[in-house]
Amino acid sequence: MWRAEQRRRGRPRALACAAVVLAAAGHAALAQLPVEPLVNEPALPAHPGPHWVWVNDVVFDYMADGRAYLIDADAGKFRGMLSTGYGYVGVVPARTSDVLYSPETYFARGTRGARTDVVTLYDPKTLSPAGEVPIPPKRAAIMPMVNASVLTDDERFLLIYNFTPAQSVSVVDTKSRRFVGELDTAGCALVYPTGPRSFFSICADGSLLKVGIDEQGKATGSAHTGKLIDAENDPVTEKGVRSGDTYWFVSFKGQVLPLKVAAGEISAGPRWWLTSAQERRQWRPGGLQHLAIHRSTHELYAIMHQGGEGTHKDPGNEVWVFDTATGARTRKITLASPAGSIQVTEDDKPLLLATFIGSHNLEVYDARSGKHLRTVPDIGLTPTTMLLP
């Protein structure tokens, strides 16, 4: 405030501050502040506490300058960021090694010229690039979603969905840090790990394509399931979440499809609804990352809004929580602001993290009580998905 007053008096220079002694007289006995070195921040934990989160941002208006932000949701602090190039989808944290994988695209002249796709390997302790793996310039240019790039369960291979519009999966060997080949997934999209060396993709006809991978990153074989999804009338979104050997998908209208993926086989469990028949007339799930799961309590979190057909990507003002063992709704959480993306931390005092591509904030809630704990402001221009490191 003193500064504003100085401005008004026309004495704005920094040195003039000396004239404004304020309460300083009382501190005359204090020691002089020491000279400070210029330092780098100490190393971050390679595997931060459960309440840290990566927030990806495609920066839709300025797509050449994509980012991933690392946030400590307890402290409400921005811990660092990655600069990740054009049309960014998201970072892939590893559980078993100290590396962050980041599929990135660059153009020689920003938004034109030769295209280069790479997987940048970041050191999670310093957030500096530690290596780079060139991959074919085929990475799907899509709305960011988690299952565009994933690790196999044993974290030996990084799998990246390609769309040119030919569909395939690029395979990067995390051991040799090299691109080792491309798996054909014609007619099927995205990558959902199902075991140490296997995954499925979802096909346009409503079947799933099961693929196994060998030590060289080649397919050991692939097979289609029967039709498990009604792509025509009430498709499930691509935003399924996983708990152990089960994926939980949800349809546009709000029907849950559990998919058991044990032992390389895939089978659909009994379906159930997020909504009662009465609620279904008004309420639907929706958003960009509209589901989250808390594994130890087998709780499924879903963003809900009031709307009809065609609103499956709309944000919602409520999160409904379900016991996946029974299908029962256990509680509703009213959000402080609309969310399109949620994540739940996997600890025994879980946080519900929420953001929205039309917001610039990360909202932090107590996942149990639903209490809004804090807002972390100014996190990106168009935040998309959140990943737990």
Binding site: F60, Y62, A64, R112, A189, I202, E238, K313, P338, L381
Partner: protein
């Protein structure tokens, strides 16, 4: 009516501050269809901006314009182009996604092709997101979450989207 307006209506009190132009939806993708059924006509120079008329009512730079019933992106009409021309220095995507929109001017349903214009940074003006008929990206030919510039001559960088008539229903 813009989606952000609707969200505001639905009661998000502090959304007003956030869903300024800067706080946009930022959707990337597009419903593909008809790469075969609706091949590009030979490129001609000389698009005329639509004059308002009884048979084609509305403002092509408004998200409400009837042809935008399934569009998703920045409207080329706000970016130096029109509803069927790419702005200077951008290249149309060769593949296209379509919607079927009802024209209140003549009560007919038209098939509308939403080509992307590519090769510069995002235009950033008149973001319009109308999501009807969209399917997940495992059904690519009906999914609007792909950026079709990736298949264009100049590659992935997306600038804006047009909404041209390619037929009637």
């Amino acid at each position: 009516m813009k989606l952000v307006d609707r969200w505001m209506e639905e009661g998000a009190r502090d959304l007003a501050r956030r869903t300024s132009r800067r706080g946009m939806l930022g959707r990337l993708g597009f419903v593909l269809a008809g790469a075969v059924a609706f091949p590009l006509l030979p490129m001609a120079r000389g698009a005329a901006a639509k004059a308002p008329s009884a048979s084609d009512p509305g403002d092509p730079s408004s998200c409400d314009y009837w042809r935008h019933c399934a569009i998703d992106g920045f409207l080329c009409s706000c970016c130096g182009g029109t509803q069927h021309s790419c702005p200077p220095g951008t290249e149309p995507s060769a593949v296209t996604w379509i919607g079927t929109c009802h024209n209140p001017g003549d009560a007919k349903d038209y098939i509308v092709s939403y080509n992307d214009c590519c090769g510069k940074g995002s235009c950033g003006r008149c973001l319009c997101n109308r999501n009807e008929g969209d399917r997940p990206i495992y059904a690519p030919f009906r999914a609007n979450d792909y950026d079709w510039c990736a298949g264009s001559k100049v590659g992935m960088p997306y600038h804006c989207s047009v909404a041209r008539i390619v037929g009637t229903k």
